[in-house]
């Protein structure tokens, strides 16, 4: 059946009565024996919340009976807070005496057939009723539910009376389908007890739900109001009680009304009433309907393990004992499964439940495990513990990628963290400063096969974002490979045997006494691979028939999100070979680095005196040039740049001088700094840049805010320590020292200004782009490529006739086109 349309409406008092199973009259909940009172708020006819009890209305037990509504007859009508705005608008549009619409029939002719908003009707409304000529008084609404006409307060009874008199004809005119008087309540529906279950505490005490508390208040005040009216109490007392009833019913609907103090629990806690149950992220809609909790999943802190494979995940034993996979017992596996059952649920690898062929679930305990294992026959299903090589899904939020959720093979391990290979850190964007990740266990064979064929890590080495490898080697791995493959690295037979055998025990040992670093690396390359490319520092790297002949292996060759070598190997030999290659290379790098150890020092940034002198000269020249420009500007002799004002020209020229100066400093540094570990990291692309080195060793340079030199702060100066109108470099954010030597307080503050701006920019940008992504996903999430190749939405409408107009897989697109020559050579 297809849902044609959904209509929302307002429930009439008749409907409230009609759907009710009980009339609520009593303020008490339970009698002396603790049984719920009939006619009380926990009336047994409203449903069951205790196990073993049958419903008095429908006869169902706890799981079957959803509960039934009751109703409360209000002594005096009360406005529904969430409708008070509409009620106010209606009062303004209809006559206070005859309840006809205040719009002149002649005006009406003009607007007939057009749908007008309430606001437009209000502006059309006349001061005098066009039907009975009654003068209309000025209406005011005091939020959230008080109406004032002229000087008097309009009570809900009067409001309701007026609304009752409105004709159907006028209602259709303004587009209201329900009777407007229903917006003012005379009967209050009492939700079933299943909606507000009471909990029995350990002490035997009963604790009621917030809604029940609120309803008790309502019933009590309603009763008091009734008594007082029957006793003929003075008007002001009745008015007060009525107002109190209005307050209680309003906060029952919404306890976060502005201008109304929230209703509180005896303990002083604010009550959670109807609106609060639905609203916000934890509310019914976003928290329970749009997003739910998931079974067969686990979450814990992640930590690195260099000896775990890329597509493996280390699962703590405690988690492996909790997560299960259903196994159908058959002739082949029965012996195995029996062993698992005999291990019980406490010992890994064991099993937690058996499901008999009749569908009955039985928990495996130490008491019954023998009995159950004897009972096992084909057709039984055993929920066994997670074991090595099970396929699971591993995920880190925010899931912005398809690579944020990938398939891994389980490896059960001691301790309490998920262990992962360092190279898969890039696609998940994970680090180990406390990050947590989620794990999901596919339960059916279909799900397992699908995960294995589509989601495993090797299948995601190549990213569809830029059709290159997104997984590669990182940080120290790059440094390690770089240092290993540099010229003149020699390893003795003992050394290289240790390294090779710690990585791979099957590889054939080269029959040589010494091995160069390049030769060692080449052992892990495919034997027929030939490739040429430029390295990170722009030098040529040559690989011929699986031998690295020239150049170094660095970020360009092996790095995540670049990796020319990985790219080629994945393309020619497949993702499994590429996976193995990444793993081996990372291991090789670490093993080699550990031969001598690797550490960086602040003394790596020491500069020889000659270099310091050169840099001082450069800074002096910058000063002089900028002074010259400033002087020319003051004299008005500055040659203006096209399309810029004098001030803009000045700033632009100064910025150019500063930029060139910093460049010169960088060149000096490059010339003078000797080979050292920090430089190795920079050159290989593992971490850090030359700019970072210049800033620590020599000079930080000009600090900028919003792309301009710093001129803000005080009137005509950046600090009160400078003269007004100072244009010197020091006063405008130029830092002429390096971090290592230390900066002046002024310079430090300028740097802090700059840092703060970058920090703000960064957080603002991620927020912005995060929300953009969310909206994009929302717009595209139910699009699907059908078997006929068209992209369609959930209503089966065609969005595209071929995905991306060409039907090509973006991860397999080559940027350079097909190189016919090399392919021909290969064949």
């Amino acid at each position: 059946m297809k849902v044609e349309r959904i209509e929302f409406g307002i429930v009439s008092p008749e409907m409230v009565k009609g759907m009710s199973a009980a009339k609520i009259t009593k303020t008490e909940l339970y009698d002396q024996e603790g049984y719920p009172i009939e006619g009380g708020l926990m009336d047994p006819r409203l449903g069951v919340i205790d196990p073993g009890v049958r419903c008095r209305t429908c006869g169902g037990n706890m799981g079957e009976c959803f509960g039934h509504f009751g109703f409360l007859e209000l002594t005096r009508p009360v406005t529904h807070v969430h409708y008070s705005k509409i009620v106010f608008a209606l009062l303004k549009v209809f006559c206070r005496k005859c309840s006809r619409i205040l719009v002149d029939p002649r005006d009406m002719e003009k607007v007939k057939g057009r749908k007008l908003s309430f606001k437009e009707f209000v502006t059309l409304s006349k001061k005098k009723c066009p039907y009975c000529n009654t003068e209309q008084k000025k209406l005011k609404m005091i939020k959230p539910y008080t109406f004032i006409e002229g000087a008097d307060t309009l009570n809900a009874a009067v409001v309701r009376e007026r609304l009752e008199k409105i004709t159907e004809e006028d209602l259709t005119l303004i587009g209201i389908k329900a009777r407007p008087e229903w917006l003012v309540l005379t009967l209050l529906p009492i939700p079933p007890v299943t909606v507000r279950p009471s909990i029995t505490l350990e002490t035997g005490e009963r604790s009621e739900d917030d809604l029940t508390h609120k309803l008790v208040d309502i019933v009590r005040i309603n009763d008091r109001l009734k008594e007082n009216i029957d006793l003929g109490a003075p008007d002001f007392i009745i008015e007060d009680l009525w107002e109190l009833l209005q307050y209680h019913i309003s906060t029952y609907f919404d306890n976060e009304l502005s201008g109304v103090p929230p209703a509180r629990h005896r303990s002083g806690r604010v009550l959670k009433t109807l609106s609060q149950r639905l609203k916000t992220k934890e509310g019914r809609f976003r928290g329970n309907l749009a997003g739910k909790r998931v079974n067969f999943s686990a979450r814990t802190v992640i930590s690195p393990d260099p000896k775990i494979d890329l597509d493996e995940v280390g699962v703590p034993k405690v988690i492996a004992k909790e997560l299960t996979v259903p196994v159908r017992v058959n002739e082949t596996n029965i012996e195995n499964v029996k062993k698992l059952v005999l291990n019980g649920s406490e010992n890994w690898p064991g099993a937690n439940y058996v499901i008999r062929p009749d569908g009955r679930r039985k928990k495996i305990t130490d008491m019954n495990k023998e009995e159950i294992s004897n009972e096992l026959t084909p057709g039984y299903v055993v929920e066994r513990h997670l074991q090595d090589n099970d396929i699971v899904l591993f995920n880190r939020q925010p899931s912005l990628h398809r690579m944020s959720l990938m398939g891994h093979r389980v490896r059960v391990m001691p301790f309490k963290t998920f262990r992962m290979n360092l190279s898969v850190t890039t696609p998940y964007n994970a680090d180990f400063d406390g990050d947590e990740m989620n794990l999901h266990v596919p339960q059916t064979e279909e799900a397992k096969v699908e995960a294995e064929n589509l989601m495993m890590v090797p299948k995601h080495i190549r990213s569809p974002r830029f059709s290159g490898p997104i997984i590669g080697v990182i940080r120290d791995h790059i440094t390690g490979l770089y240092l290993l493959t540099k010229d003149d690295v020699k390893l003795s037979r003992k050394e290289f045997t240790q390294i090779i055998r710690s990585i791979d025990t099957t590889i054939e040992m080269p029959d040589k006494e010494t091995l160069t670093g390049k030769e060692l690396f080449s052992l892990f390359l495919p034997k027929d691979l030939s490739l040429e490319f430029k390295s990170n520092s722009g030098e040529l790297v040559v690989i011929e028939n699986g031998k690295l002949v020239k150049g170094v292996v660095d970020k360009v060759a092996m790095g995540a999100e670049s990796g020319k070598l990985i790219d080629k190997i994945e393309k020619l030999y497949g993702s499994e070979v590429a996976k193995k290659f990444i793993y081996n290379s990372a291991r090789l790098a670490i093993e080699f680095l550990m031969k001598g150890g690797f550490s960086i020092s602040i003394s790596d940034q020491d500069l020889p005196d000659a270099a310091r002198k050169e840099i001082a000269e450069i800074i002096e020249k910058i000063r002089k040039d900028v002074d010259d420009i400033n002087r020319q500007y003051e004299k008005g002799e500055l040659k203006l740049l096209v399309g810029r004002s004098p001030k803009e020209s000045l700033n632009h020229m100064i910025k150019t001088v500063l930029r060139n100066g910093l460049n010169d400093v960088q060149k000096v540094l490059e010339r003078h700094i000797k080979d050292n570990p920090t430089l190795a990291m920079v050159k290989s692309g593992a971490r850090g840049s030359l700019v970072n080195m210049v800033q620590t060793a020599a000079m930080v340079g000009q600090e900028m805010v919003m792309g301009e030199r710093i001129e803000r702060g005080y009137y005509q100066r950046t600090f009160p320590h400078f003269k007004k109108g100072t244009v010197s470099l020091e006063a405008t954010g130029f830092v002429s020292r390096g971090f290592k030597d230390g900066v002046t307080p002024f310079e430090f503050f300028f740097d802090a200004i700059n840092s703060r701006e970058s920090l703000m920019d960064k957080s603002l940008k991620t927020r912005h782009s995060g929300y953009m992504e969310r909206r994009l996903v929302g717009a595209l999430q139910d699009l699907k490529v059908e078997y006929d190749g068209t992209v369609r939405d959930s209503a089966n409408r065609i969005i595209e006739f071929s995905p991306g107009e060409d039907g090509l897989d973006p991860s397999k697109i080559e940027k350079v086109g097909v190189d016919v020559r090399t392919i021909a050579k290969r064949i």
């Binding site: 068209t790 409408r797 006739f801 107009e805 090509l808």
Partner: protein, 79 residues
């Protein structure tokens, strides 16, 4: 002011109207009805240029760097 023929512009792909036979063929090929096609407004300049009416189907031939020519069909709707 000089009238500009927008269809002459390089950035405007070629739009042509389908006849009834072609329409039927298209519907059968994708097992769809008129309402499932992507839409284009009658007051779209290109539609006005080729004289399309509400309910007609336009065939759009776009140049594509990857696919050579990309076909797209759009139904004309009330603007």
């Amino acid at each position: 002011m000089k009238e500009i023929d927008i269809t002459k512009n390089d950035l405007v792909p070629k739009h042509t109207l389908l006849n009834d036979g072609e329409k039927l063929e298209l519907f059968n090929q994708y097992e769809i009805t008129l309402r499932q096609l992507p839409r284009i407004l009658v007051n779209d300049p290109v539609v006005q240029n080729i004289g399309g009416k509400v309910g007609d189907v336009v065939k759009v031939v776009r140049k594509s760097p990857t696919a050579g020519e990309a076909l797209y069909y759009r139904v004309i709707v009330r603007g």
